[in-house]
């Protein structure tokens, strides 16, 4: 036990004396959250639009007011012709135009039409704009008006994230990425550095058990990941208004389990890599790309081809992100995420067994 404590102390000396790396580890999560939260956003905010109202009645006026009052849209001006709309689109003054036909009010009983024009040179944005505007218009239309039994009208309600906020999606994603990157890179580099500097040779020719070496390497980074978890969560909660609907304790425990998995992944990498650069490359490229592309953080897993879906099952981040969303956004409890938890636990155990088996007590 004293051996372990002493080793742990040494690891903390390494970490605190290499202040540049430590600060980087603390700052990267903050930078990423802010970047994703403000810069790289596909969210609609204060989009300028024009209105071509050929009907001019109280309903259309209410709809326009409603749109303009939302935080997504700002009215640019009222126009009186399609040509004007076209010119404004070309000048990039507006992103959307809304056209009410002359017979808007008359046809309301049988189903009326509103025309939405968007600039589809950015298809994602155009789709989002249409969705946002449709939601607002429909809400307004159905509010004081019971729709007659003519036809079936789908009433869309977006559960858990009614405003379609990006942060709800990327905060779990960023956690999934940062924890695995920091934990795996730091542990693998920490162990490989001992090999590179030759101190591993001295450690091996000592009565120190390999399991102590491994544990002592992992513990400090587990603590650092706890700090990271708390930073990201508070940034998400206070800055990006992402709610934590489920138990905060469960969120933290789940994240710590995932951090542990990442640490064992780092241990495993350290048994393969011979140099610090190799360890970094393996963790950086071989782990980061699959996480971004296959974890469901950016692209939904359901839409992937079969083979990629199978592959994504092997990505720990996928299970973590799903479970974290369930707890944070949907407010589910521990029983609902048991499948994900068990998958993460099994992955951790497999990696621990593999790393301990592969950990060499000799130089070859």
């Amino acid at each position: 036990m004293k051996q372990f404590q002493s080793f742990l102390k040494k690891e903390f000396y390494h970490i605190f004396r290499d202040s540049r790396t430590t600060i980087t580890m603390m700052v990267i999560p903050i930078v990423l959250v802010i970047l994703f939260g403000y810069a790289i956003t596909t969210e609609i905010k204060s989009t300028r639009f024009v209105v071509f109202d050929q009907s001019k009645n109280s309903t259309t006026q209410r709809i326009i007011d409603r749109l303009a009052a939302s935080e997504y849209f700002v009215i640019y001006k009222q126009v009186s012709s399609y040509e004007e709309i076209e010119t404004l689109f070309r000048k990039n003054k507006i992103r959307m135009a809304i056209v009410f036909p002359p017979d808007f009010e008359e046809n309301r009983q049988t189903g009326t039409e509103v025309q939405l024009l968007t600039d589809a040179s950015d298809p994602n944005e155009a789709t989002s704009l249409v969705e946002y505007a449709t939601t607002i218009i429909n809400t307004e239309l159905t509010k004081d008006y019971i729709v007659s039994s003519v036809g079936i009208k789908p009433v869309v309600r977006l559960l858990y994230n009614p405003q379609m906020k990006d942060a709800y999606n990327f905060v779990p994603g960023v956690m999934g990425m940062i924890l695995i990157l920091i934990c795996s890179i730091m542990t693998s580099v920490g162990i490989v550095r001992e090999k590179e500097y030759g101190s591993m040779e001295v450690l091996l020719v000592s009565p120190l058990k390999p399991v102590y070496i491994i544990l002592a390497k992992a513990t400090p980074y587990l603590l650092i990941s706890l700090v990271n978890i708390l930073t990201i969560l508070s940034l998400a909660y206070f800055l990006l208004d992402v709610p934590i609907k489920g138990s905060l304790f469960l969120v933290i425990m789940l994240s710590l389990l995932y951090a542990l998995l990442a640490l064992t992944l780092g241990l495993f990498v350290s048994t393969i890599a011979k140099t610090q650069q190799a360890a970094m490359l393996i963790c950086g490229i071989a782990l980061m790309l699959p996480i971004i592309l296959l974890s469901g953080m950016m692209f939904p897993v359901e839409n992937m081809p079969w083979i990629l879906q199978q592959l994504s099952n092997l990505i720990p981040a996928r299970w973590y992100i799903v479970a974290l969303r369930d707890v944070m956004i949907k407010g589910l409890g521990v029983t609902e995420i048991l499948p994900e938890i068990s998958i993460l636990v099994v992955m951790t155990l497999v990696l621990i067994v593999l790393s301990v088996k592969r950990f060499k007590v000799r130089l070859e």
Binding site: K2, Q3, Q5, S6, F7, K9, K10, Y13, H14, R17, D18, Y197, G198, S199, E201, V202, L203, L204, V205, S206, P207, L208, V361, R362, L363, E364
Partner: protein
């Protein structure tokens, strides 16, 4: 009693045979040196004895413990100082020593008498980071760390390489004092002049062991008469001496050349006349006692 017993040990890396069928027996309490140039296989042999590598063939025991079966015990009774400085550069002198003491389940106080001599020199720098020490100081610290658990056998891989001559001498003085504590010391070095500080030496080259004996015996068994050549134009003198028909060998040794005649007849005057004819004035030819290095060079002549 034999502290380390090596029999027919062989180790290859791919096509390169690093250690070739070496057998040695090192007595308990002996100060034993493996002497040879870079690539002679010294480090590989050390790594096998410290159980860091397994040999392809052959066996060895350290204090009666088998290197294959009892590697865990061997690791508790041996102290190892690798050739490269392998302590933690970002930890202070004191922190390094404390760390290695606890790793070996002991404390600095417990074995302080053993390292006292060395540690007093380090004490003024005890708060300094190990990476900021001079080469000689680093080696002393590494030695302290290897000694802190009072090992029965101490393996030192090239401890004096890259260290200035004064520190080298100091280091050997320290080793002699450690030996008095009845610790077997096995040290490797490329410097032949350090051989005289050892009880016995093994001359190594290309993975083989050429000769094992006391330094005195090795020198005494030198089969030739040795002469030294001195002159003004040393390089030209070497070339001309090698041209001389009666030359068996001539090697440059610092400020003079070591010369051996082909047949054992002392025709030093003839050589002097020949060299004067070649234009070398003030040639000084004297008899010389062979050193370990001469013996090592002579083994080379046999090979070729």
């Amino acid at each position: 009693m034999n502290s380390v017993q090596i029999s027919h040990i062989t180790k290859s890396y791919g096509n390169v045979t690093a250690v070739r069928d070496i057998s040695l027996s090192i007595n308990s309490g002996e100060l034993f040196a493996l002497i040879g140039p870079d690539g002679a296989g010294k480090t590989t042999l050390f790594r096998m004895l410290t159980t860091l590598l397994l040999p392809d063939k052959g066996d060895a025991t350290v204090c009666g413990l088998d290197m294959r079966k009892d590697w865990r015990q061997i690791r508790t009774i041996s102290g190892y100082m690798p050739g490269r400085f392998s302590l933690y550069q970002d930890l202070s002198v004191e922190e390094n020593l404390e760390f290695f003491a606890t790793v070996f389940k002991t404390t600095i106080q417990e074995n302080y008498d053993l390292i006292h001599d060395i540690y007093v020199q380090l004490e003024p720098f005890s708060k300094r980071r190990a990476g900021k020490l001079s080469g000689g100081m680093k080696q002393k610290l590494a030695l302290c760390c290897a000694l802190i658990h009072r090992p029965r056998v101490l393996f030192l891989d090239e401890p004096t390489t890259g260290v200035d001559p004064v520190s080298r001498k100091e280091f050997w003085d320290i080793l002699s004092r450690i030996k008095e504590q009845n610790i077997t010391i096995i040290v490797s070095t490329p410097y032949m002049d350090e051989a005289s500080r050892c009880d016995r030496i093994a001359l190594m080259r290309n993975g083989s062991c050429l000769r094992t004996d006391t330094p005195e015996q090795i020198c005494a068994s030198f089969p030739h008469k040795l002469w030294s050549l001195k002159g003004k134009e040393l390089y030209q003198l070497l070339l001309d001496a090698r041209e001389y028909p009666q030359t068996y060998s001539c090697h440059a040794f610092g400020d003079c050349h070591h010369f051996i005649f082909k047949e054992e007849n002392d025709k030093a005057d003839d050589l002097a006349a020949y060299l004067r004819m070649k234009g070398h004035e003030d040639v000084l030819i004297e008899r010389l006692e062979p050193s370990v290095e001469d013996c090592f060079m002579d083994f080379g002549e046999d090979d070729q």
